[in-house]
Amino acid sequence: MSGGVPPQAALADLSAAELAARLAAGELSAVEATEAALERIAATDGRIHAFLTVTAEHALAQARAVDDDRARGAPLGPLAGVPLALKDVLCARGIRTTAGSRILDRYLPPYDATVVARLREAGAVVVGKTNMDEFAMGSSTENSGFGPTRNPWDPGRVPGGSSGGSAAAVAAGHAALGIGTDTGGSIRQPASLCGVVGVKPTYGLVSRYGLIAFASSLDQVGPLTRTVRDAALLVEAIAGHDPLDSTSIDAPAPDLTSGLERGVEGLRIGVVAEFLRGGVQPGVRARVDEALTRLDKLGARLDEVSLPSFEYALSAYYLIAPAECSSNLARYDGVRWGLRAQGAPDVVEMMLRTRSQGFGAEVKRRVMLGTYALSAGYYDAYYGRAQKVRTLVVRDLERAWQERGLDLLVGPTSPTTAFRIGERADDPLAMYLSDVFTVPVNLAGTAAVSIPAGLADEDGLPVGLQLVAPVLGEATMLRAAHALEQDLGFDNRPSQVLARAERAGGRERGDRPGEEATTP
């Protein structure tokens, strides 16, 4: 396709690396790439609802600046002109930032998150802010204060969460790049459910400055993309020490792309027994087993490993994360930003009313749970014990790396494929179980990636495979993920995904009148 602008569908199917190459070669302008992304959003996001705010003017202005710089021969970032979908939990100066909450409905941050500043330096063009579970608390994006996002593979299903908007935007071809955050699986689980790649970097690799906090010892920013290479490029762009975040690791951003082709020959990969016990959907298990066979054929050495504390990680997580959230969310008091309830006679009543009106059910539930776990008389039995279990999780992983000599661990990302909208909404515990394989990584602060491993036989929906690495093991992890991705050849081109959903929707409507897959 040389010369002229390629048709929209073809442009949407290009990876960020391919787009960047065309932009650099002058075959495509940043304005053309941005306009095409905005047109796709206008055409299909009414149905998917990946975006809370589309930043068309900002995006076009930035794209023009990229094109001007290129015309002048000025140096440009590696992602110059590539459209990006930004989770609405990262502050961007003067751009509405809600964290999916009504309490921040009209919040205009007075400063940029470090990640946002770095994305701008890299040249990525933010086309909009994406939907999410309120304050990143959820696994389906149904907890958004602004309505759910739908899975591009099947609009009757959830995209996962909490970064469901970014995952859906990338899967639907609204943007080649997406940014999410992962506190207990909120990048990896939606990546798994939407058939895309999601990376949770090592804690401290990416700055949290300007990230609206959920659980500060667990939160980490990372990429959602359609290829492993794009994820590596995006981590390179946002990683590295930031003096504005005291938990930021004091080291330069890692090189993750130059060794990507080195394969898995000789890598020792632990198959986690606790990841394959009961509760895993048969179609998920089948794709994971198949991926293990492929890794073996590619020359990796697979070894079963048991990490007993992982059985307790979910319970520990659902005390630690709510405890931290109850503390972090104390700042929504109607004084310095966000909603204030009117007509209250005194300040305490104003805070009570503001928080009760502004927070949704899941946020209230977690604030309550965290306050309880931290309160006098219960601290030792709940929060204190959870912190000790966190130590056991760290120790189990240390043993896997040190004593067993493993380079990576492998298992499913999520026990199931995408579930139906509403299916788990009234059962918090069932929803929390979505995160059972992802939370140990956050507790231990290490790195993990989810890549698509094919479609489950029973429902035809994407299955995610998780690779877990030690602290700062991103290069090895992405190299293995890339090798497996090339071998699998999974087709997640947005044109195919949307055409498939269209066919499935038509079938469903035809077969079962009155029970449409897209009923809100």
């Binding site: 205009l108 941050p109 007075p110 400063y111 090592t202 804690y203 010892s217 003096p243 005291s246 938990t247 307790y312 319970s315 520990a316 659902y318 005390l319 109850s326 104390a330 008091d333 004084v335 310095r336 930003w337 966000g338 909603l339 204030r340 209250a344 006679p345 005194d346 300040v347 305490v348 009543e349 104003m350 805070m351 009570l352 928080r355 009760s356 059910a361 209230k364 539930r365 604030v367 309550m368 749970l369 306050t371 309880y372 309160s375 039995a381 709940y382 204190g384 912190q387 000790k388 279990v389 130590t391 056991l392 760290v394 918090p428 515990l429 929390y432 507790l443 231990a444 602060g445 290490t446």
Partner: protein, 98 residues
């Protein structure tokens, strides 16, 4: 572990949440179910285990004592629901005198 409605009310007050009657009942049930699940942590022998508050071990992190730019007052106040005389304005804090 079941949790009583009175406890839910007490915790809600601590968390500065005014819950409706319906919410109090629902949270009493749901928090009970979640805490019951959490009780299984008691099965583990953790007496001699040190707690982990943070996965990446770090001591105090200092920066050089050099003044730099900071958020201007007007920008900081721009997000406030109510402002008076360049300050955040809040409803009455102290009880009125009898």
């Amino acid at each position: 572990m079941p949790i009583s409605r009175a406890e839910v009310e007490h915790v809600a007050r601590l968390a500065r949440l005014a819950l409706s009657e319906e919410e109090l009942d629902r949270f009493a049930t749901q928090l009970g179910v979640i805490l019951e699940e959490a009780d299984k942590l008691g099965q583990l022998a953790t007496e001699d285990v040190e707690p982990t508050a943070h996965a990446v071990p770090m001591a105090n992190v200092w920066r050089a004592d050099v003044p730099g730019p900071c958020l201007p007052q007007a920008a900081a106040l721009s997000t406030a629901p109510e402002v008076e005389q360049d300050r955040f304005k809040v409803p009455r804090i102290l009880e009125e005198e009898a």
